[in-house]
Symmetry: C2
Subunit: 381 residues, 2 copies
C-alpha cells in the first residue's frame, strides 16, 4: 500500500469583496465590539453577483494546476465538498470537468460530498482512501471545498464568509495522515439545516448549534484520546501536539473549543494538574455534561487558563478565518493554510490535530499530521 498519503499542495481563493466587521457593527446598530471582540472576527468576504461557489471552484482548481505545473491528464479523482447546493442533481464536480475535458481527460472518479461543513473533510478522506486502495491508478486526487455562507438579517449575519480551497492528494506527501487516530462523532440534530430549498439562508438555532459544537468536541476528543492510548500506548494531552486546527464558524467558538479541550484534559488527569488549575477548575468537575455546557463560569475559567497554550498552539491557525469569515467546508483548511503561512519554516515533523465540524452533527478530531515545509517544492516543476 502507498505510504504517507496526504496533501501535496494547497491553494485558496476568496472573493476580493469584503466588509469590515467594525463597519457592519455600525451598519447593524450593534454595540461596538459585538462582532470584533464578541465573535472575534475582523472581516467577512462575500460573493458579489459575478461569482458563486462554481466560479470560485473553477478559479482555485485552475490556479492550483497552473502554479504547481500539474498536467490535467494527471488527475484521476476529483472530489468536491460543499453545502452551497445550487442544483439538486447535477454536481459541482461536473462543472469542474470543463477544465479536464479539453485535455481529453473524462475518466475521473469522484462526486460532491454533502454534510454541512464536514463535506470537505469527507471529500478529502475519500481521496486519501482512494490512493491507498486497489482502485488507485497512479494519478493524483484533487479535493475542492467551496462554499458561500450567507445568513438572513439578524444575529447570525456577521458569521458569513466565502472561499474555495483546492488540495492535491497523493503518496509521499509532506502532509500525511495518521489514519488510525481519527475520532468521529455524528448524530441527528436540528441545529443548522437548509430545508427551505428556495432560500440561500440556513435555519439555525445558534445556541443549540454552539452546544452541539462543544459536545462534539468532547466526544471526538474522547474518541481520539482513546485511540491514541490504544495505538501509542500512552495518554494524550494538549502538550502532545504542536498545533490544533479548528473549523471556525467564528473565532470566539474556536477559543471556547480549545478551552473545552483544556477542561477535558483536566477531567481525564486532574491529579497531575497544577495547583491553579485544580483551584479554578476543580469546582466544575462534578457538573453534568449539560450543566457544564451552560456554565459561563466554567467557560471563563477554562479560557483564562488555556490562554497561554491557545496563543501558542491555535492562534497561528486563525489568520484567514478571522479575515475571511466562515467558509463552511473550506474553513478548516483555510485555518490549516494559515498555519502553513505563519509557521512554515518551523513545520518539520510537527504533530498537529485538526478538528472539523458539521452541524446536525458530525465532528472530527481528524488526526495527526506530519508537516514538512517542502510541501510546495515537492510538486513544482
Amino acid at each position: 500500500m502507498e505510504k504517507n498519503v496526504g496533501i501535496l499542495a494547497i491553494d485558496i481563493y476568496f472573493p476580493p469583496a469584503c466588509v469590515q466587521q467594525e463597519a457592519l457593527e455600525t451598519h447593524d446598530g450593534a454595540s461596538k465590539g459585538k462582532y470584533t471582540i464578541g465573535l472575534g472576527q475582523d472581516c467577512m468576504s462575500f460573493c458579489t453577483e459575478v461569482e458563486d461557489v462554481i466560479s470560485m471552484s473553477l478559479t482555485v482548481v485552475t490556479s492550483l494546476l497552473e502554479k504547481y505545473g500539474i498536467d490535467p491528464k494527471q488527475i484521476g479523482r476529483l472530489e468536491v465538498g460543499s453545502e452551497t447546493v445550487i442544483d439538486k442533481s447535477k454536481s459541482i464536480k461536473t462543472f469542474l470537468m470543463q477544465i479536464f475535458e479539453k485535455y481529453g481527460n473524462t475518466d475521473i472518479e469522484g462526486v460532491d460530498s454533502t454534510n454541512a461543513c464536514y463535506g470537505g473533510t469527507a471529500a478529502l478522506f475519500n481521496c486519501v482512501n482512494w490512493v491507498e486502495s486497489n482502485s488507485w491508478d497512479g494519478r493524483y486526487g484533487l479535493v475542492v471545498c467551496t462554499d458561500s455562507a450567507v445568513y438572513a438579517e439578524g444575529p447570525a449575519r456577521p458569521t458569513g464568509g466565502a472561499a474555495a480551497i483546492a488540495m492535491l492528494i497523493g503518496p509521499d506527501a509532506p502532509i500525511s495522515f495518521e489514519s488510525k487516530l481519527r475520532g468521529s462523532h455524528m448524530s441527528h440534530v436540528y441545529d443548522f439545516y437548509k430545508p427551505n430549498l428556495a432560500s440561500e439562508y440556513p435555519v439555525v438555532d445558534g445556541k443549540l448549534s454552539q452546544t452541539c459544537y462543544l459536545m462534539a468536541v468532547d466526544s471526538c476528543y474522547k474518541n481520539f484520546c482513546h485511540k491514541f492510548q490504544k495505538f501509542q500506548g500512552k495518554q494524550f494531552s494538549l502538550f502532545d501536539a504542536e498545533y490544533f486546527v479548528f473549523h471556525s464558524p467564528y473565532n470566539k467558538l474556536v477559543q471556547k473549543s480549545f478551552a473545552r479541550l483544556f477542561f477535558n484534559d483536566f477531567l481525564m488527569n486532574s491529579s497531575s494538574a497544577d495547583e491553579v488549575a485544580k483551584e479554578k477548575l476543580g469546582p466544575f468537575a462534578t457538573l453534568s455534561g449539560d450543566e457544564s455546557y451552560q456554565s459561563r463560569d466554567l467557560e471563563k475559567a477554562s479560557q483564562l487558563l488555556a490562554k497561554p497554550l491557545y496563543d501558542q498552539k491555535v492562534q497561528p491557525t486563525t489568520l484567514i478565518p478571522k479575515q475571511v469569515g466562515n467558509m463552511y467546508t473550506a474553513s478548516l483548511y483555510a485555518a490549516f493554510a494559515s498555519l502553513i503561512h505563519n509557521k512554515h519554516s518551523t513545520l518539520v515533523n510537527v504533530l498537529t490535530t485538526i478538528y472539523d465540524q458539521a452541524s446536525s452533527q458530525q465532528c472530527f478530531v481528524l488526526s495527526n499530521e506530519y508537516l514538512h515545509f517542502s510541501i510546495f517544492r515537492q510538486v513544482r516543476g
Copy 2:
C-alpha cells in the same frame, strides 16, 4: 491490504403503491403500448404522502441489519447516495444515525454523495476504498441508495419510480470488484438537472439525455476495454462476461445500450464478425459518432442482432427495474439484485460488468464481479 472487498449483503425496499403503466397510458391518453412497449416498463412505484427518501432509507437499513443479524455497533462507515435532496446542508446520513445512536455508536464516517444517479456508485466505491485503506478499523461499511424519481406532467412522467437499497461492505465478500478494470466518463452537460430548488421535478432534455447515455456507454466501454487489454493481455468482447447490468431509466434504453455495446464490438473487431453482422452493420461503420447516435436504422439493426445475447446476458437483470421504474441511485443495484434473484443457483465465479450513469454526465462500466451465491449465508448468524 484486505482481499476481495465487496458486497456481503443486499436489501431492497420499494413503496407498496404502484401504478400499472398500461393504466397510466389510458389515464394520460397515450397510445396503447407507448409506455409498456415503447419504454419497456410494466409498473411504476411511487411514494405516497406518508413516505419519502428518508423513511425508505431508515426502513431498508433497519431491515438489512435485522435480517443478517448485524450489530449496529459493527458499522464504521455509512455512505448515502441520493439525488433527492430534501435539505441543502443536513445529510440523509444524519437521519440514519438515529439507528446507531441508541446503541452508543456515533463514531461513523461517511456522508451523502450527490451526482445524479451515479451518487450511489460513488458511495459504494468510497466504502470499498475505505475497507482497503489504512483508515479501516475492522468494522463494516454500509451503503444506502435512496431516491424518488418524480417528473412533471408530460412525456417523462412514466419514467418515474422510487426505492432504497442497502449494501453491507467488507472483505472476503462473495461479490467483489476488479478494481483496476473500471472505465469512467464524466463531462459537463445540461441534459438533466434540478436547478429549480423549490420543485421536486428535474429539468430534462429527453433526447439529449438519451444521446448522452449512449455516448457515455461508448466512452466507458472503450475505456474499460482498454484497461482489460492492458491488465488481462487480451481483447474484451461481450462474450467475456456472463451478465451485463445497466442503470435503467427505462428498459428500452437498456436494450439500446446493450445493442450499442454490440456495435462497439463490431467496430473494434469487424473482421471476425459473422457474415450476417457484416452485412447488417457494415454500412454503419463509417458513420461519425453524432450520425451514429441519430441513426434509427443502426439502432434497429444492432438491437435485432444483439437480441439473442440480450435475452441471455441482460434480461435476467431487468426484473425489478421493469416493475418498480427508475430508482435513480438505486436503479443499478436493483438490476443487480434482480440478477441475484433470477440466477442465484448458477452465480458461482461469474464475471459480470455493470454500468451506471448519471446525467450531466458521468458513467461507468463498473467492473467485473465474481459472484457466489453464498452471499447471504456468509453474513448470517
